[in-house]
């Protein structure tokens, strides 16, 4: 146990000193291996390789590529236009449009940072131009981006599935209801602030049926891509990697033949961006494999189980304590690396205490995402504050209400597992 404590303290010290996570995890693990005579140094390269030697993991570059192709192909503009016609007439319409766009775009983008950058880059300046305060523009964009990785298809769910060998289809379905619930809750809290601050409508009336049908048809080819992925996976017709390939081909067809906005240079750029994002995610996965090898050999899960069982013996209590642990770490560590580091050990401990793996995965992903908009670090909120040109502190007046609502939704999902398990149980495959 002494080795594990040293490993964690050393890694956390490196993280806090600003060393990239891959090197914090890698250096801490390497030092332990070098000083432990029972461990061989070749564990480092072998586990680095084994960590990413997976056919399921190969689906991630494809999903990222599909998202890049659709983003470069002009999808965002079409979704925003459609959402404005649909709900732009309600009070504070543009703020609500922001949330609706995140929900619609979520199935395509699947990464909250990319989602936030893409949508925030367009909608935050428009919101400020229409008289919204910069703080609410940044907060709405940041918090609504958290819906994306919960609503299927989701790369975070895919990662959790890979790390814990849980069914991808069940996880995708399990995230649908909580994701929509989160979106609706964010719309409600936004409405509260809109009324309190007296923001106006972005359109006087709802779009005509003709306008709605035209805009809907224009956006639908791209919005069908995630539907194809989810149906293919849930129906058991395709493997995750095949689903990724089909997503890429569908995205290419939509961008080239329907929207005709994708140039060759943009396509090459899409390949590069997808590859670079893959590297950043996989680097943490690879380094975490070395780290987890030490944890396994030190029987870390058993020790963790002992600690949790001193706090609670019920599965709900265990899930709540894991939620609290994830939320605290999520305040300083980004979602993807956090999930990679925690999924394995928490899965082992959670399932031993009777927590359903799908339930655990959805709660874990949701909680980690909330961490990205929680000060002091709030990676996602910082990104949007940058776009809105305000300091992070300027959002403190309203972010608490959004955080309270988001944590409330996760708490509901913990206390009522049916919110997560209902859809996977009614859809048979």
């Amino acid at each position: 146990m002494g080795t594990v404590i040293f490993l964690f303290i050393f890694m956390l010290a490196l993280v806090l000193l600003g060393v990239p996570l891959v090197y914090s995890i890698g250096c801490a693990s390497t030092v332990v291996i070098l000083f432990d005579p029972t461990l061989d140094v070749t564990l480092v390269p072998s586990r680095l390789y084994l960590g990413i030697d997976s056919f399921v993991l190969a689906s991630i570059p494809f999903f990222l590529l599909a998202a890049e192709i659709l983003t470069s192909g002009g999808l965002i503009r079409r979704i925003i236009f459609f959402a404005r016609l649909l709900i732009g007439h309600v009070r504070g319409g543009l703020a609500q449009v922001n949330i609706l766009v995140s929900i619609l775009f979520s199935g395509v983008q699947a990464s909250c940072t990319a989602d936030s950058a893409a949508i925030g880059g367009v909608l935050i300046p428009s919101m400020i131009e229409e008289g919204y305060d910069p703080d609410i523009s940044a907060v709405v964009t940041a918090t609504s981006s958290c819906c994306g990785p919960i609503i299927p298809p989701s790369i975070l769910m895919l990662l959790y599935a890979f790390l814990t060998e849980t069914s991808v289809a069940k996880l995708f379905l399990g995230g649908a209801v909580p994701g929509l619930l989160l979106g609706l809750s964010l719309m409600a809290v936004t409405h509260y602030w809109v009324v309190k601050r007296g923001y106006k409508r972005s359109r006087e009336k709802v779009g005509t049926m003709k306008e709605l049908v035209e805009a809907g048809l224009n956006a639908s080819p791209a919005l069908l891509v995630p539907v194809v992925i989810v149906v293919g996976l849930v129906g058991g017709f395709v493997t995750p990697t095949e689903a990724g390939v089909i997503a890429c081909i569908s995205a290419l067809v939509v961008a080239v033949f329907f929207y005709r906005e994708l140039s060759r240079a943009a396509l090459i750029e899409a390949f590069k961006k997808a590859a670079h994002t893959t590297v950043v995610i996989w680097a943490v996965i690879a380094a975490s494999k070395v780290f987890s090898e030490i944890l396994v050999r030190a029987l870390f899960t058993d020790s963790m189980l002992e600690v949790i069982s001193t706090v609670t013996t019920s599965s709900t209590g265990a899930l709540l304590s894991m939620m609290a642990f994830t939320f605290i770490l999520g305040m300083v560590i980004d979602t993807t690396p956090l999930l990679i580091m925690l999924a394995g050990p928490l899965y082992d401990a959670g399932t031993s205490m009777g927590v359903d793996p799908v339930h655990l995965g959805v709660v874990l992903v949701m909680t980690a995402l909330i961490g990205t908009v929680s000060p002091p670090v709030a990676v996602l909120l910082c990104l949007n504050c940058g776009i809105a040109k305000i300091p992070l502190g300027a959002t403190f007046g309203i972010i608490w209400s959004y955080l309270a609502v988001m944590l409330g939704v996760v708490l509901l999902c913990v206390l009522f597992p049916g919110l997560v398990s209902w859809l996977p149980s009614v859809v048979s495959w």
Binding site: L14, V15, L16, L17, G18, V19, P20, L21, V22, Y23, S24, G26, C27, T30, L34, V41, T42, V44, P45, S46, L48, Y49, I52, D53, S54, F55, L57, A58, P61, F62, L65, V238, T241, E242, V245, I246, C248, I249, I268, F271, K272, A274, A275, H276, T278, V279, V280, W282, A283, V284, A286, V332, I333, D334, T336, P337, P376, V377
Partner: protein
């Protein structure tokens, strides 16, 4: 050194786009074969895809270092005096150099032990050849980080 970075970035990105496109095309063909029954799916495509993505990952790792794209927690940056910020930057490069150096050094021993086995789909291809990308990729990281730490140290002298 700037020229070296440009060349390595260009070469590795070109290789990666080629590999990525090849995998996408082969996987598409395989899906077509599988669902139409036109021909039997090519069994080697799965392993080829995995190897290609692993090569892509290791070859591009150094570019993420150069661009500062790796996940990190930067709560101290901006809250400490410039001198300490400079010291932290040197320390970050040093940590990356230690890690990549150990991987490059230990991967030779790893390849000599585990690299003699043939791959499942390509009997003529030894796993050692596939594993070669580990020292190659981390070697690129090592050179990149050494150049970065050198630049940081020189900035202080100026």
């Amino acid at each position: 050194m700037e020229r070296y970075s440009q060349i390595t970035r260009y070469v590795t990105e070109t290789a990666v786009i080629f590999l990525f496109s090849a995998v996408l095309i082969l996987q598409t063909v395989n899906i077509f074969f599988r669902y139409t029954g036109f021909l039997a799916p090519l069994m080697w495509v799965e392993e080829f895809s995995t190897f290609s993505f692993i090569w892509m990952f290791f070859l591009l790792w150094h570019v993420a270092d150069r661009d500062g794209k790796h996940f990190m927690v930067d709560i101290l940056h901006g809250k400490v005096p410039p001198r300490i910020r400079w010291g932290l930057e040197v320390f970050r490069h040093f940590a990356a150099i230690v890690f990549s150096g150990v991987v490059v050094w230990s991967s030779w021993a790893f390849i000599s032990v585990a690299g003699g086995y043939p791959t499942n789909s390509f009997k003529w291809l030894l796993m050692g050849v596939v594993y070669l990308v580990i020292p190659l990729g981390l070697g690129l990281v090592l050179v990149e980080r050494i150049s970065m730490i050198w630049a940081t140290l020189r900035r202080s002298n100026n």
